[in-house]
Symmetry: C2
Subunit: 502 residues, 2 copies
C-alpha cells in the first residue's frame, strides 16, 4: 500500500510512541532483574521477558509495520535529517530481521536470560567451566543469527562491528589496536622502571554510607539531573536509558576500594549526562537508541579520565573525600592522592584498571571475541587463552576465572563487538578534548568546579549531533579532522611522563 508523506509521519509517530512505551517497560524489567530481583525467580522472569520481547518482535514483523518502514525508507529524501536517519535505521533493522522468526527470537531471549544467571553463578564460584556449556550456546546462537542475515561483509565479526560501529571493520580495528599497542606498551615499560607512587591508602576502608554520600555528591557535581534519574547498586555497574526522563546509573561498593565506586559513578554518570542532554525532538523519534556504543563510551570515559583524573578535578575529589570521610585519609597529601589515583600498573580487572593500561584489556577482549565469532577458536579452554594473553601483554595472571574471563557481563548478553567501543571512545575523547581546549579554558573550568561549562560545550558540540551521525562523521563534524590515534597517544605520553618523570 502506498503512503503519502503525512501518512508516513503519522505511522512514524505511532510506532515511535509504541516503541518508547514498550522499551520503557522492558528496560525497567531488565534493570530490576540486574539490581534487586530475587534469584529464585530467574526462570519466571526470563520467560516473561522472552514473551514480551517476542510480542514486540511480532509487531516489527507485522505487515503494517514493514509496509511503513519500506515506504518511509523509499521516500526518505522527502524528510528532514532526523526522520531520514530514523527511516534508515528502521530499514536496516528490518533487513536484519528478515530471516529471523519470532520462535528463534524467543529461543534467543530465553538463552540470554539463562546465560546471565549461569554467568553470575559461575562468577561467584570463580569457575568458567560451569558457564562454558551455556556460553558455547550463546556463541553458536550469535553465529546462527549472523548466518541468517544477508551477509555482505568480509567476516562474521565485521557484521557485528557494523551493528555497533557503522563504518568500522576488522581491517580498520586491527590497525587501530596495533597503533595502540605500539604507543602504549613502551610507556608501560618505562613506568615499570620508574619509582612507584604511594598506593596503600587506596585500600583504606571507607564505610558504605560514606561512599554513598560521595556518589550523591559526584553525580550532582558533574551535572546529573536527579529528578530524572536514579542511582542503584549492582554486581557490574552499567547505565540504563529507560526513558527520556528516567536514566539510571548503577555502582558497586567495595569497603576496601573506595575509588572503584568513585570512578564507576563518574563513568556511568557520564553516560547518563549524555542521555539527559539529547535534544527532545531527537529523543522523541527514538534516535537516542542509535547513538553508537563508542560514541557513548567516548563521553563516559571522557568524564572518567579526561575530567575525573585531571589534577584540578582530583583537587575537588580530595577535598570532598576528606570532608565526608573525616580522619580516614588524614595521612594522605593531595599530591599522594592525585598520584595514587593516577597510578598506572598492569592489573587483572578492566573496570578497575588505570587510564594507561585500560586499552590493553580491551585489546585482549578484541582479539578473543573476533576469533570466537569468526569460528577460529572455541569456547572450550577460552579461560586459559584469556589468562595467557594477560600474562603476555600485561605480565599478570588471574588466580581464578572471576578475575579472568568471567569478570565482564558483555559476552554473557552476546554483545560481541561492543568492547572495541571503549578503546575507540578513549581515542575519540582525546580529539574532542583538544578541540574543546580551543574553545574554553578546560583546566580552569575544572579548578573552578564549573562542570556546567564543560557540559554545555559538550551538549552543544557533541551530544546534540550524536544521534544524527555515524562515529567517523561525528568526530569529523566536532573536530574538523579525520579520526586518528595521535591525540590519544600524545595525551598518554605527556600525562604519564610527567607523573612518572621519564
Amino acid at each position: 500500500m502506498t503512503m503519502n508523506k503525512n501518512e508516513i509521519l503519522e505511522k512514524c509517530k505511532y510506532y515511535c510512541d509504541w516503541k518508547q512505551d514498550y522499551s520503557y517497560i522492558v528496560s525497567i524489567f531488565n534493570f530490576d532483574k540486574e539490581t534487586i530481583a530475587p534469584r529464585g525467580a530467574n526462570e519466571e522472569s526470563d520467560k516473561a521477558l522472552a514473551r514480551i520481547q517476542q510480542d514486540i518482535f511480532k509487531v516489527l514483523k507485522s505487515d503494517d509495520y514493514i509496509n511503513y518502514v519500506k515506504e518511509a525508507y523509499e521516500k526518505r529524501n522527502e524528510f528532514d535529517e532526523a526522520h531520514r536517519r530514523l527511516f534508515e535505521f528502521q530499514y536496516k533493522e528490518y533487513i536484519r530481521n528478515i530471516n529471523i522468526s519470532p520462535e528463534l527470537q524467543y529461543e534467543n531471549s530465553l538463552l540470554l536470560g539463562k546465560s546471565y544467571s549461569d554467568w553470575l553463578n559461575a562468577k561467584e564460584k570463580g569457575d568458567y567451566n560451569l558457564y562454558e556449556p551455556t556460553f558455547r550456546k550463546v556463541v553458536e546462537m550469535s553465529r546462527k543469527l549472523i548466518e541468517l542475515r544477508d551477509n555482505k561483509f568480509a567476516t562474521y565479526y565485521d557484521m557485528l562491528l557494523d551493528d555497533f560501529e557503522p563504518g568500522n571493520n576488522e581491517v580498520i580495528l586491527d590497525k587501530f589496536f596495533s597503533e595502540l599497542k605500539e604507543g602504549i606498551l613502551p610507556i608501560i615499560k618505562k613506568i615499570n622502571a620508574s619509582k612507584q607512587p604511594r598506593k596503600d591508602f587506596l585500600s583504606y576502608e571507607v564505610p558504605i554510607p560514606l561512599q554513598e554520600r560521595m556518589s550523591e555528591f559526584l553525580l550532582k557535581f558533574n551535572g546529573f539531573d536527579t529528578n530524572c534519574g536514579v542511582l542503584s547498586t549492582t554486581e557490574h555497574p552499567f547505565t540504563d536509558f529507560p526513558s527520556e526522563h528516567d536514566i539510571r546509573v548503577t555502582t558497586h561498593y567495595y569497603l576496601d576500594m573506595f575509588t572503584s565506586n568513585i570512578y564507576s559513578v563518574i563513568h556511568e554518570g557520564g553516560h547518563a549526562i549524555f542521555g539527559q542532554n539529547i535534544p527532545h525532538e531527537l529523543f522523541a523519534l527514538g534516535l537516542g537508541d542509535f547513538i553508537t556504543s563508542a560514541e557513548h563510551e567516548t563521553i563516559s570515559r571522557f568524564y572518567e579520565n579526561y575530567i575525573g583524573r585531571n589534577k584540578n578535578y582530583v583537587y575537588h575529589l580530595y577535598n570532598k573525600t576528606n570532608e565526608i570521610c573525616g580522619d580516614i585519609f588524614k595521612d594522605v597529601s593531595f599530591d599522594e592522592f592525585y598520584k595514587g589515583i593516577n597510578i598506572a600498573e598492569p592489573s587483572l580487572i578492566r573496570t578497575e584498571s588505570d587510564e594507561l593500561t585500560y586499552c590493553i584489556h580491551i585489546l585482549i577482549r578484541y582479539e578473543l571475541e573476533k576469533d570466537l565469532i569468526n569460528g577460529k577458536i572455541s569456547t572450550q579452554g577460552l579461560n586459559l587463552e584469556w589468562n595467557r594473553k594477560y600474562k603476555e601483554y600485561l605480565g599478570v595472571e588471574p588466580k581464578n576465572d572471576s578475575e579472568g574471563i568471567l569478570q565482564d557481563v558483555h559476552w554473557t548478553g552476546a554483545a560481541f563487538g561492543y568492547f572495541p567501543s571503549y578503546a575507540l571512545g578513549n581515542a575519540y575523547g582525546a580529539m574532542i578534548l583538544n578541540k574543546m581546549k580551543e574553545d574554553i579554558d578546560f583546566d580552569k573550568a575544572l579548578l573552578d568546579g564549573d562542570l556546567e561549562k564543560i557540559k554545555n560545550w559538550l551538549k552543544d558540540k557533541v551530544f546534540s549531533i550524536a544521534p544524527l551521525k555515524d562515529p567517523n562523521e561525528w568526530i569529523k563534524a566536532i573536530t574538523g579532522k579525520d579520526f586518528s590515534t595521535k591525540d590519544y597517544i600524545n595525551y598518554l605520553h605527556e600525562k604519564f611522563s610527567k607523573l612518572y618523570k621519564f
Copy 2:
C-alpha cells in the same frame, strides 16, 4: 465455537501462562514506580503503563479469549475444584468488562497514574485541596465504571464490596462495624481512665542501618524466604506479588519511630509469607490473585498483632533490638518495652495505630467511602469531614491533611471497598487464633522462637485453601464456625484489661 475438555485445558494453560508473564512485567513496573523511579518520568511511565494495560485488556476482550471463558464456564462442572473456581472468576471478570471499552480502560489507567503523582505531591505539602480535583475524577470514574456494569446490587458500594469480599454487603458490614464500635469504644474509655505506660523510648532515635538489620532479622525469623523475595523502601509500605518466586515487601524508616519499621515489616512480611506458601498448582492457575483482601489482611494482621504483639514474641524482639542497638534502650526494661509496644492510645495515623483503636480508623474510612461511592457526599471538603470523624470517634484532630485524609494510598488507586478488609481480617484472625490454640501450644511456640511451627499450621489449614474459598466459607472451613466478632472482641477485652488493669 464449541470446545472439548482438552481444548479448554489447553487454552486455560496458554492464558494462565500469558497472564503470569504480563502481570509479572506490569507488577515490576509498578513496584519500580512506587519505590525508586524518578519523579521527572511520571508522565512517561503513566503512559507506558496505560498502554500495556490496554494491550492486556484487548486480549481479554478478544473473541478467542471470550469464547474460551464462556465455554469453560459452561462446562465448569466437568473440571476439578481449582479449575472450576478459576473459570468462575474468569467469567465474572468477563461480565464485569462487557461494557468497558479499551479506550475507557486506557483513560482510567492514565487517570490513576496521575492520581498517584498528584496525591504524593499533595501529601508532601499536607494540602488535600491540591489533590481534590484529581480525586474527584477518580471517584467519578469509579462510579462510571460501576454504572457500566450489569447492576444486580442494592448500592454502588455493594458492587465494589462484592469485588473485594464476595458475600459481603453494606447490611452485613454496617452490623459488623456497629458491633466493633460497641465492643471497642468502651475499652478505649476504660484505658483513657487508667494509668498510662511509659512511652518516651518509642521515639528514641535508631540509625537507619540498625533498623535495616532489624528488618532482615524479622523477615527471616518469621519465615520469609529471601531467595524468592525482596525488601525495599517506599513512602507507604505495601507488599507485591509479581510472581510465584518473587514476592516483595516494602517498609519505611523513620529515625525517631523505630517500631514503625518493625511492625511494617512484620505486617508486610505476613502478606509475603502467605504468598510464598500457596500450593504451586493453585499459583500456576493464577488463583493466588483471587485471594480476597480480607483473607490477606487476616494473615498480615495475624503476624502483626496476634504474633507480633504477643508477650512471648516481644521477648525476642526486645533481645534482638538490644543486641543490634547497643546501648540505645539500656534504660528500658522488658516489661516497659512490652507495654510500650502495646500502648493503646487514640492517634491520627492508621498504620502506626495500636491494635485496639485500629478498627476505629477503618470504621471512619468505611463510612466515608461508602457515602462517597454511593454519591451521598462529594470529594469537596472531605478532608474536613475526615477530621470531624476523628474528633468524634477518637478525640484527636489532624493538623494537616498529610496526617489526615491524605495518609493512605488506597483511594488514590480507586481501591474503594478495600478498607473493610483490615477490620474483617482482625476478626477472622481472632477466630483462627482460637482454632490454632486447639491444635498447638501457640504461646510456647512463640517463646521457643519456633515460628516455623505456626507457619506450618497456617500453611496447612489456612493458606492452602484460601484460593479456593470465599471468605465466609474459608473461615467456616478453618474453624468449623460461622463468622462472628465475638472472638475478636473477647481477645481485645482480655488483652487490654490485663495490660491496663481494669
